[in-house]
Symmetry: C2
Subunit: 352 residues, 2 copies
DNA sequence: GCGCACGCGGTAAACGTTTACAGATTTCTT
DNA sequence: AAGAAATCTGTAAACGTTTACCGCGTGCGC
């Protein structure tokens, strides 16, 4: 594992200068004879170009970072699955950051852009603070944000429309005759938490339903806590007949609790999740869910970034990906053979 | 976004040499007065150390790569979820490679180690070819392989024991009274495919069951193909009463088809998956699955690599993670309220 | 046959750090 | 207070590339 050959080693061996070696290696016009000698020497030595030195000189690393709250979250994974191949095809490596939604960690990632170890960044923050905006304004490399940022923030931005998403779900539940529709939400100080809470109220109002505050439960975005919130809800509001859950994990937690409580889904209580992750299609019963287009947001974000890396000096772009409702057994009523649950989840996945 | 400050800028501003700046920045012993001046200048300029230049000189990048077949596969994700925090805690960034199980891509990753853009690599190849072994022997940075490599390969290695895993599952099915146990396997030219096929035969033999070749079906490791293999099987061997599936995705495909065919699970046909992914706990009915310890293999791999990066020049290590069977509704018989499906999957996951 | 243009290829200077070495300063000893 | 010892800091050389610039040699035109 001794020190590998450099262009100096090759130059020596081929009897040419390092400049010529570099030229040959980069395919710049060179006499055939020289090309031959250099190639031969490089082959014999098993030369591999040092990416670090190259980056230092060229000021490009061919790396892009993706920062998300949590590697374990299926919604981010859906993005990752799209981002990875797009970047790879364009010749970039992907550096992963999992920030656990800790603001300090996210700021740190933004700060570390100054280290120039990546050419660009895709970030999906759960909360957007003033510190975020400051760092974004001063960022030393192109950044694309997946999620909502305040109007006027000068940064490329791909957003979901969870407001319309919630609307779709609530309307659907209403059309099934449900009138006691609860919301199981995540923290209100997160962007999605706030948006979904507001959208829920708005949707109820437009439908002429009273907004009973006891129907709203706040927990976090994880499965166990989702379950707890639902248990609490059932105790206080026994006549609830539908649950709008702020994400799929919460909805799965809800299904666990409903089952344990002997409530039939969807006959007694209909349940809708959000994000339409793989888990929704696989769950028991399969879960209706609002797709916020995680996958598409990933693709778009990667494309926006690539464009920016290609040198585009255009105005910041903002793309909104429209949501759609995927109806499955948890709202579709009984009598279904479940076959609608089979389609969505197969995607990809090789053996272990 | 103009060129940021370098230590030269700071040196000038602080009226000291670049050597002093570097020393202050690295916390080497320096006079208080100098420290103060340098820090002040660095702060004012918003200096951030250039990671590339630093890497060139120090010959360390503080990056580690993880190469897996497919970002979308839950088994690899379970590894990723463990690897990421371990490396992060040790100060390393994670570079992700998705090779789609294409041998050429994997070789390429190994080759690119020579570019020295990472300090080490964790790789989980589906197949291990001669080319792999050659590249491994010549690797210019420490590598840890997750998966099986031939005896005597000089590389740190974390393996699952899918042979014992299959044994656990088959014994379990046998103890439930099943005697027509089919195997739905992936390609035999993959390491796991081969191992699981062999283990299945061995297990049947030890139980004194005849090995009926029509009970063995080969597809790929994906959900739709798993379904197709099962459809085929049901047509040829209608009296099958148990399915041993080579991974969870195949098993989910099997559940889809069984449901469509009107076979009750587990009453008519019991199903066991493998890998114990999140999907198993969430599926309908929840899926018994053999855990091959993906998460633990990830942790161990990361730790082995870190040890090696710390400079350990010890003999290559081999760690085998023991499997265990997680029994859920798909083999547990009817009458279950499903609550056993609730525990395992909640793990982590923040809102979208 | 001389000079000019042109194509190649070599020299050297970057890129932004770290660090060995030696020179400069301070601090201590006596 | 002078010399030795200890501390600090500056100069310069790396790390492995890319690339601007210039000189050399060939081939061509006149």
């Amino acid at each position: 594992m001794g020190d590998g050959p450099t262009i100096n080693t090759i130059a020596e061996r081929a009897g040419v200068s390092i400049a010529s070696v570099s030229r040959v290696l980069n395919g710049l016009p060179t006499r055939q004879e020289t090309v031959r000698k250099v190639m031969a020497a490089a082959d014999e030595l098993g030369y591999v170009r040092n990416a670090v030195a190259r980056s230092l000189k060229s000021r490009r690393t061919n790396q892009v970072a993706f920062a998300m709250a949590d590697v374990g979250n299926p919604a981010y994974l859906a993005m990752l699955r799209q981002i990875q191949p797009v970047l790879k095809a364009a010749g970039y490596r992907l550096v992963l950051h999992s920030t656990d939604a800790v603001v300090a960690d996210e700021i740190d990632v933004l700060h570390s852009l100054g280290e120039r170890y990546v050419d660009g960044l895709i970030m999906s923050p759960l909360r957007v603070t003033g510190a975020h905006l400051e760092m974004l304004a001063a960022a030393r490399a192109p950044v694309v944000i997946i999620g909502s940022v305040p109007e006027g923030t000068r940064v490329d931005n791909v957003r979901a429309d969870s407001r319309t998403g919630v609307r779709l779900a609530v309307d659907h539940l209403y059309s099934l005759g449900r009138r006691r529709i609860a919301l199981i939400n995540g923290p209100l100080d997160t962007v999605p938490g706030a948006a979904r809470g507001a959208a829920y109220r708005e949707a109820l109002e437009d439908l002429g339903l009273p907004c009973d505050e006891s129907l709203v439960r706040i927990g976090d975005f994880y499965r166990p806590e989702g379950g707890r919130a639902v248990a609490d809800l059932l105790a206080r509001v026994p006549d609830v007949d539908a649950l709008m859950c702020a994400n799929d994990l919460i909805a799965l937690g809800a299904l666990d609790v409903l089952r344990a409580a002997g409530r039939r889904v969807p006959d007694d209580v209909a349940v809708v999740g959000m994000d339409d992750t793989d888990l929704a299609a696989a769950s028991w019963p399969s879960l209706s869910s609002v797709s916020l287009g995680s996958a598409e947001r990933g693709t778009v974000a990667a494309e926006l970034l690539l464009e920016r890396l290609k040198g585009g000096e255009h105005e910041p772009r903002r793309v909104t990906v429209p949501p759609h409702l995927v109806v499955r057994a948890s709202t579709a009523g009984a009598g279904h053979d479940g076959s609608q649950g089979a389609g969505g989840a197969g995607k990809k996945g090789a053996g272990s």
